[in-house]
């Protein structure tokens, strides 16, 4: 299991990078101009996330420098260590359903301060990849057709996030533990 996951991780990017353009070439797609056009939008995406990243990284930096993070961590330690949640990862759970930009900010902050190859860094990465901005998605999709009663969509979306968080802890522990 662990070996298969490692294999998938290592092979995925090179295989896609070679396979997709090859397939596209066979389908007579003008690969190069398409790539450049897409790359331009990638550049714009990276630039577009600067403002939310600044907002969240600054707020989290303040939380740490003021000693708040340590105090909260000490307070919640009995619960969080049992759940396998390091203190720097806690803000993720708070903001993930609300804002995609803010969640990326938390990921960036944890990767910067805890390092990408530690438990906290890997955990926050997997959490970000396996959950979505539930409130935002619902507001956009339901709002587009004027639905105000979401019924089971909201609890189902939040439960999915919760499942994503729990699974992240279990999988990261099992694979990198």
């Amino acid at each position: 299991m662990r070996h298969a996951l490692e294999l998938a991780s290592v092979w995925a990017v090179p295989l896609l990078l070679a396979g997709i353009p090859l397939y596209a070439l066979c389908r007579k797609v003008k690969v190069y101009p398409a790539f450049v056009e897409g790359a331009r939008s990638g550049f714009e995406t990276a630039v577009r996330i600067i403002p939310p990243l600044v907002a969240i990284v600054v707020a989290l930096g303040m939380l740490k420098a003021s000693g708040t993070m340590d105090a909260v961590a000490a307070l919640l330690a009995p619960v969080t260590t049992r759940l396998g949640l390091p203190a720097p990862v806690l803000p993720m759970i708070l903001v993930r359903p609300l804002s995609g930009g803010a969640a990326l900010g938390v990921v960036g902050d944890v990767l910067r301060s805890e390092g990408p190859d530690g438990y906290a860094g890997r955990l926050v990465s997997v959490m970000a990849g396996s959950t979505e901005t539930t409130f935002y998605v619902l507001a956009v999709y339901m709002g587009a057709v004027g639905i105000t009663r979401y019924r089971q969509a909201l609890p189902a979306g939040l439960l999915a996030d919760l499942a994503g968080f729990c699974a992240s802890v279990l999988v990261v522990r099992a694979v990198f533990g």
């Binding site: 930096g61 970000a128 396996s130 901005t133 439960l159």
Partner: protein
């Protein structure tokens, strides 16, 4: 989000005052802001590469290919939507684009799907089971490769930025399964208005 952000900042200032760490706080504000920009700029390379590749995939018709694979699964998930109804087509394309991580392509398909599902909705303003399930699916990240996360990891010097792909896939599968199961099971707890109910 506004509330959370202001609360984080305000609490920090108060705690810093109590702890006598105002100097450190001021320094941290400047370095954090700077660090956030450095981090974002570090993303540019990987994000450009990835979205370039995805654009090629899109033009090669990979979304359609994936849509064909997703169709039987979605038919089973949405038995109340007629298989030949255009809403099914839009949902299938939305899921396919989501799986490839093409957020910009997924949203228009998703909105179109919601609009077409609304045609099957006898109660305006209240979501149908199909609409609730479809939205729940979209709130579970279906993305196969978390491109932005990998880019962030690369920008912070990870030994192998992509080493989280396998674990992410597994966690995503759990989240998506939970979304479907809870949307199906919770449906009964949220009764819809009686069809005979006039307005």
């Amino acid at each position: 989000m506004s509330f959370i952000w202001v609360a984080l900042v305000a609490i920090s200032v108060v705690v810093a005052a109590v702890n006598g760490r105002m100097g450190a706080l001021t320094a941290a504000i400047a370095t954090s802001a700077q660090g956030a920009v450095t981090l974002s700029l570090g993303l540019v390379g990987v994000m450009a590469l990835w979205l370039g590749l995805m654009r090629v995939a899109e033009e090669a018709g990979l979304v359609r290919l994936l849509a064909r694979a997703a169709r039987p699964l979605l038919r089973r998930l949405f038995p109340e939507v007629p298989p030949e109804h255009p809403a099914m087509g839009a949902m299938v394309m939305n899921v396919a684009a989501n799986v490839l991580g093409l957020g910009n392509a997924a949203t228009p398909f998703g909105l179109e799907a919601m609009r077409l599902l609304e045609e099957l909705n006898p109660h305006r303003g209240t979501a149908t089971d199909a609409q609730a399930l479809f939205c729940a699916l979209n709130t579970a990240s279906l993305q196969l490769l978390p491109a932005t996360v990998i880019a962030l990891r690369a920008a912070t010097g990870a030994r192998n930025p992509a080493d989280v792909i396998g674990p992410t896939l597994l966690a995503t599968a759990c989240a998506a399964t939970t979304a479907v199961l809870s949307a199906k099971l919770l449906s009964r707890l949220y009764p819809r208005p009686q069809p005979t109910g006039g307005a």
